[in-house]
Subunit: 282 residues, 2 copies
């Protein structure tokens, strides 16, 4: 594996730095770009990191540009790392029909087992293992980690935390795809990446994982009540029921009038960053 990080951008922001890096990913078999926000405190020593997993169609840029998170990260002294949402490149197969909800921009944070996607689509291993190792080796951050995300990335954040007891100190999600085995986006993605047998999908579904989770890390979820994807794709009530049944601590906030956009994320990101900082900085 190449560990070379090529810096491709740097912007001063709230006294810290927003930087973008390109690197060759051994896990994904392609070049990847990710972004990091380093708060001012990182100039004096390594700081904990929140990994942010974005939703369908996003790259590393959406959260950094639109969430308004730098201000709070700078105050708290927490770094934020935002990976891309899939492997990319001419050699990486995408959706055969060119759709936006599968393939490029839609890796769904699983390790694909079905051809032709099994070669490159290993976003789970990338965000859980390769990317943190790279970041912790080359940037002024510690191995104290939180994970959060939006929509497809909310699903990603939940499964990364639920499948890896002890690896993250905190988890939260905005409008997560809570129960992908039971919604059109998830069923399309899992069929393509994991094959047609739904029994193979359950290991990548937050609602299914809650019962047997190895630790009871408190989950914070915000969900807009005017989100057009709420009933068909997101199913927060399934997450609520699973957490209740398992005794898993969940704070699920339904926000009247809010939709699925980054305006919704920006409106509540401060609460999420403070939720993470309370665990990361303790």
């Amino acid at each position: 594996m190449s560990t070379a990080l090529e810096q491709i951008g740097a912007n001063r922001s709230f006294g810290g730095w927003h930087k973008r890096f390109r690197h060759a990913s051994a896990t994904l078999g392609c070049d990847m770009v990710f972004a990091v926000y380093l708060p001012p405190q990182a100039e004096h020593g390594p700081v904990p990191v929140l990994y942010w997993l974005s939703g369908l169609t996003c790259s590393d840029e959406n959260f950094m540009q639109k969430a308004g998170a730098h201000r709070i990260a700078a105050e708290l002294g927490v770094a934020i790392v935002a990976p891309d949402t899939s492997p990319r490149g001419a050699d990486v197969p995408g959706d055969p029909d060119g759709a936006w909800d599968f393939g490029h921009g839609a890796g769904f944070y699983v390790n694909a087992t079905a051809a032709p996607y099994d070669r490159h689509y290993r976003m789970y291993d990338y965000v859980v293992s390769e990317l943190p190792a790279l970041v912790e080796a080359h940037l002024p951050v510690t191995a104290v980690r939180g994970v959060a995300g939006h929509s497809m990335g909310g699903h990603g954040a939940l499964i990364c935390a639920l499948k890896n007891p002890g690896r993250y100190r905190s988890v939260s999600a905005f409008a997560p795809i809570s129960h992908p085995v039971d919604c059109p986006w998830g069923q399309k993605a899992f069929t393509g990446y994991l094959g047609a047998d739904p029994a193979q999908w359950k290991a990548w579904d937050a609602v299914e994982l809650i019962a047997t989770a190895g630790e009871r890390l408190p989950i914070l979820v915000d969900q807009g009540e005017a989100d057009g994807f709420l009933a068909e794709q997101l199913k927060p009530e399934a997450l609520r029921a699973a957490c209740a049944a398992a005794g898993h601590p969940l704070t699920l906030r339904l926000q009247p009038g809010y939709d699925h956009s980054y305006y919704f994320i920006a409106s509540f990101i401060e609460d999420h960053l403070r939720h993470h900082a309370a665990a990361l900085l303790r």
Copy 2:
């Protein structure tokens, strides 16, 4: 003039609303889209407005998505209106070479006098007169106005305030094109829109207007010291000298390490909104 406003989008944001409208502009002879942020206070009565003028290549969307301004506007009870940066459409002539620094996305907030641009490119009249009249007639805002902008829009904000004593209560700019008659962007735009005689350009140049300004409205300017356009295009020192000579109050803050991006704007927008609110809410 059609006064019909067609709402084309609405997102709840920080307890208020981000909305986008399309309307037929009589001034510009084309359909235009603008965005507004209405803070929660606007549900109880009209609120003052900050007009935000964006830079080259921008639309109504960039500031709303990237500046992180809604949070502060919601706290202060100030609306923000963001117009597009030029007339648009198949009937509107653009740059003959397809460049990004003239024509579509680059109206420069002047009233063009040179063909073929004189028919549509009247962004000055649009942002000073038509748009405020429309907004004040149809949305819960008052005629208490501030004006701010970035780069080309910083130039726009400065000339709108300097040319209209009493029309705005406050003005500020990020990295404005302070002296367009003396920089490549300004010279290209003014030649195209106003003709080849530089004597005709001075009425649209902040540095030239300062000496004879009809009121001494305090100007707040932030400028990144790592801005790649600083020396050639922006020339804040010319603005400083003009203000000093005229006794015009100017707070010019040079921000070490900051560039020309929205990360720079986001880092200091709170100070600007508080500068405006102090005048708008008094």
